[in-house]
């Protein structure tokens, strides 16, 4: 790397800090950018700054947004009476890809984690509570992950929401589609059996 002029060294160093990119890949990317036309490099640089300048958290759901509220919260075709609670923006994107949900979201921006010292005050639980207290919501679907932290967060939300009188549901968990039973752990299988449904 030291054989490169310092401007290239600098770019390689910066690219190498990106997740999943080692020194070799960083070098290859830098060489690619060097060889491409100036306007392409400019567009790349501008796209990065554009994103940094314009993306913020939606004031209602705390998802990623370009304005005060995100396009999903502004969409009048979405059912405002049902709110799906997820941990991260990426989880919301996955749910949207599934095409299974037509309500609104609430992104907690994390999960309760005693070992990391992340408590109820550190994620967007209070905001969810006040959103529900302001009315118009009939059902909350808790779609946190099925890890220990995700399940414990779901249990905590259930405790907190009970007094509000809204219907509280939890996404089902069980055998994955195309899954082979012999690769499924016993905790998951037990849950799948416990929550089996009639044909």
């Amino acid at each position: 790397m030291n054989y490169y002029p310092s401007a290239i060294q600098n770019l390689i160093k910066r690219l190498g800090r990106l997740p999943g990119i080692g020194e070799k890949s960083a070098e290859r990317l830098a060489m690619h950018i060097l060889r491409s036309p100036r306007n392409e490099a400019e567009q790349l640089a501008r796209a990065i700054l554009d994103m940094k300048d314009n993306i913020r958290l939606c004031a209602i759901c705390f998802g990623l947004s370009e304005g005060e509220t995100c396009s999903l919260c502004a969409d009048s075709r979405r059912n405002p009476g049902i709110v799906c609670v997820v941990e991260q923006p990426a989880d919301m994107i996955s749910m949207e890809r599934s095409g299974a949900f037509f309500g609104r979201y609430h992104i907690l921006q994390g999960v309760l984690s005693p070992l990391d010292g992340i408590g109820p005050d550190n994620i967007r639980i209070r905001e969810l509570m006040s959103r529900i207290e302001s009315g118009g919501i009939g059902e909350v679907v808790i779609a946190t992950s099925t890890s220990v932290e995700g399940e414990a967060t779901a249990a905590y939300l259930h405790d907190m929401l009970q007094s509000t009188g809204v219907k509280i549901t939890r996404i089902a968990s069980g055998v994955p589609m195309g899954g082979d039973l012999k690769y499924v752990d016993q905790a998951t299988l037990k849950k799948a059996m416990d929550t089996r449904h009639e044909f």
Binding site: P19, G20, L112, S113, P114, L115, D116, G117, I118, G119, P120, D121, T146, S147, V148, E149, E151, A152, T153, A155, Y156, D159, P176, G179, D180, Y183, V184, D185, Q186, A187, T188, K190, K191
Partner: protein, 262 residues
């Protein structure tokens, strides 16, 4: 190339890159060990649903070729303890005990007694044999006994007077000295933490009991509260570290207190 095969409890799980997990385990045969589980985040077949916090597993690890962490080859569930995660309070206590063990133990140092204490407490928490707070009194007092810094509960740490002979209903706590002080020895100048005789008896009893006998005990809420207060300052003091999960527990208690007041 050495392989290790042992029973172990998951203490900590950290994401490493896009695909791997770094897992810290407390094993019955090898003490604490940290391993890398390659591809655990992505593959459904490898380790699916198995590497969860507090799970008791049978694991096989193999030394890595370079200087890296040992590699987790196989892991199968013995007890997933799924009921722990069904409540935030249970999860918080299990995290607290795991963190205590993780902070105290050094890699590769065996402690079979502590291993069975942790496993039996997680099991009792999962089964609901004892309330989490009583179990936490039991875990902490047993932990300190096993690690050799158990508090002196039977006599005054300064003058050695037998505690049951003293007339005062309260005893002062001296965390640094590792025990309690009789009425004559306690400092008059500042207010210090106090323990009632009832709480001291509870702690003495918990230190001698096993999990089965401890489960039959019905201490008063006041004794549990006082006992926890004492132990939760005593244990971190001797570990020399503030614990994240204790901060979490306190936050949780504050929330539930607010809700009851409202």
């Amino acid at each position: 190339m050495t392989c290790i095969s042992t029973r172990a409890i998951v203490l900590r799980k950290i994401e490493y890159g896009d695909a791997d997990l770094i897992i810290t385990l407390f094993s019955s045969d090898q003490g604490k060990l940290t391993v890398i589980a390659k591809g655990a985040k992505k593959s459904r077949k490898r380790f699916s649903g198995v590497l969860e916090l507090f799970s008791t597993l049978n694991i096989v690890t193999r030394e890595s070729r370079g200087r890296g962490l040992p590699i987790l080859q196989e892991a199968s569930l013995i007890y997933p303890f799924v009921n722990i995660r069904s409540g935030i309070e249970k999860t918080a206590y299990a995290s607290y005990w795991s963190e205590i063990v993780n902070v105290w133990m050094v890699d590769g140092q065996k402690q079979p007694g502590l291993y069975s204490l942790l496993e039996s407490c997680l099991d009792a928490l999962d089964q609901g044999h004892m309330t989490p707070d009583i179990l936490s009194v039991f875990f902490q007092i047993q932990f300190m006994k096993l690690c050799g810094f158990g508090p002196t509960l039977f006599h005054c740490t300064a003058c050695c007077q037998d505690m049951m002979e003293t007339q005062s209903p309260y005893m002062a706590v001296d965390i640094a000295r590792g025990g309690i002080l009789c009425h004559n020895c306690q400092p008059k100048s500042f207010s210090c933490q106090n323990l009632s005789k009832g709480t001291i008896k509870l702690l003495q009893w918990m230190e001698k009991a096993d999990a089965v006998r401890a489960a039959r005990l019905r201490p008063t809420p006041c004794s549990i509260h006082e006992g926890l207060d004492f132990l939760e300052s005593f244990v971190p003091h001797h570990l020399g570290k503030q614990l994240h999960s204790l901060t979490f527990l306190r936050q949780l208690r504050a929330v539930s207190l607010n809700r009851h007041v409202c």
